[in-house]
Symmetry: D2
């Protein structure tokens, strides 16, 4: 089964730049997290805030990033993410960060998110209604 791919367009901020005139490595990670926040609300119709109100939270268990081409100051880019697999207590999300001007890949990789019960801070099985929301 292939899940839908969603896109968020944004722009490099000056404070994202590193001393080598490129976007700082850790910012690509921030860009993906930001895109998922946006897409949870806009595309999956279930924002992080709504999860929190229900006593649930998504935490990153593993992050894997492959850097291909640097983004530059003020550059516009697209973060495309999609669910690769829904696991018992988490989801594996793949991502691509693409330059807006030419569609070339700046960075790709994946994140493994775990659903946690905010009271216990422990992993909890993903409820069926969440699976249904994500299975698009």
């Amino acid at each position: 089964m292939a899940y839908q791919r969603f896109e968020t367009e944004t722009r490099v901020r000056p404070d994202d730049m590193d001393r080598n005139q490129h976007v700082h490595n850790s910012c690509y990670f921030n860009y993906v997290l930001a895109a998922r926040y946006d897409q949870m609300e806009r595309c999956y119709k279930m924002s992080m805030e709504e999860f929190i109100k229900l006593g649930l939270g998504w935490v990153v268990r593993t992050a894997h990033l492959d850097f291909k081409r640097p983004l530059n100051l003020g550059e516009r880019f697209i973060v495309r993410t999609w669910i690769e697999e829904i696991l018992k207590d988490g989801v594996k999300v793949r991502f691509e960060i693409l330059r807006k001007t030419n569609g070339k890949l700046a960075c790709d990789g994946w994140l493994h998110y775990t659903l946690i019960n905010l009271q216990t801070a422990r992993a909890t099985p993903i409820p069926d209604w969440v699976v249904a929301k994500y299975a698009i």
Copy 2:
């Protein structure tokens, strides 16, 4: 003489949040710097990169920020900036950060930028053609 006011709209990123569920104080500063970058290119038609190519740079000499109301996760906001005064070797720029939803003020203040010669790292008089670009 009153200079024109320019606006940049943007959005709070998750990594801008602090532990109190508000945007971290220093991020408002970043938002203003980012808006000036954008407006230099888009509104004044003279980007920071073009200054750098000419061996010139703008550095912040003083920053003054008054925090009024916090911005929240994912919130859209407008950074309005305008030149208050063009000095011999710098400009005083005022700013307002406004919530998109209701126009309420989140933060205001001013920045004093100095023009420097990148070779010497020292302040340099603002050339007339820069004054002309900024006197809009």
Copy 3:
């Protein structure tokens, strides 16, 4: 009355650098906030966490920063802060950021902190016992 001055020594992180090979402007602000956290606990014997447990919080109302000399990659520096004035519902804190190697001033300025009631998010008078803790 002159209040005591406290110092926190720390070091520039690579991710603090901007594209001009200097520490990014907003990081100096972060350095001062970090030094106050440290000094609240270590010097005033009342950490931010202890305030929070009592339903109180300190928020920055105004920040004023004068940039004198840039800090460089990996550079060690000292953040010296002291209370200039204890107000009814806040404190005015002055700071200096000094290069470790030669004691030269990199940045100075002041922060106006307001004490708030975390339940109402409104300013609250500083209790006498806090004044006593700070009046050293």
Copy 4:
């Protein structure tokens, strides 16, 4: 062959915190990059600056981070890194971020760094003298 392990001790800054009272995911990445900077200079006796002077640079090609336990505000921690493998044009570096108080693992993973020629921005074979410096 097993390479030596080096440690850098540092401390969580308030601006590293995320909205869930933990260190923001991308900051662990910054901590590792900062530790390598420190250890290149202090342990391998060859700082990033010295590489740059020779027209060489290290860029991150892949980052892999496994999050185990969150770090908290003000917490002291140790970043231990070591070379796992020296490749033709890069090095694979493993890392562990450990809580100072109890030695428990907060995050581990690895980075693949590529050596580049700063003029061409392309990968370049690691010179023998660099291999010698790193083979400790």
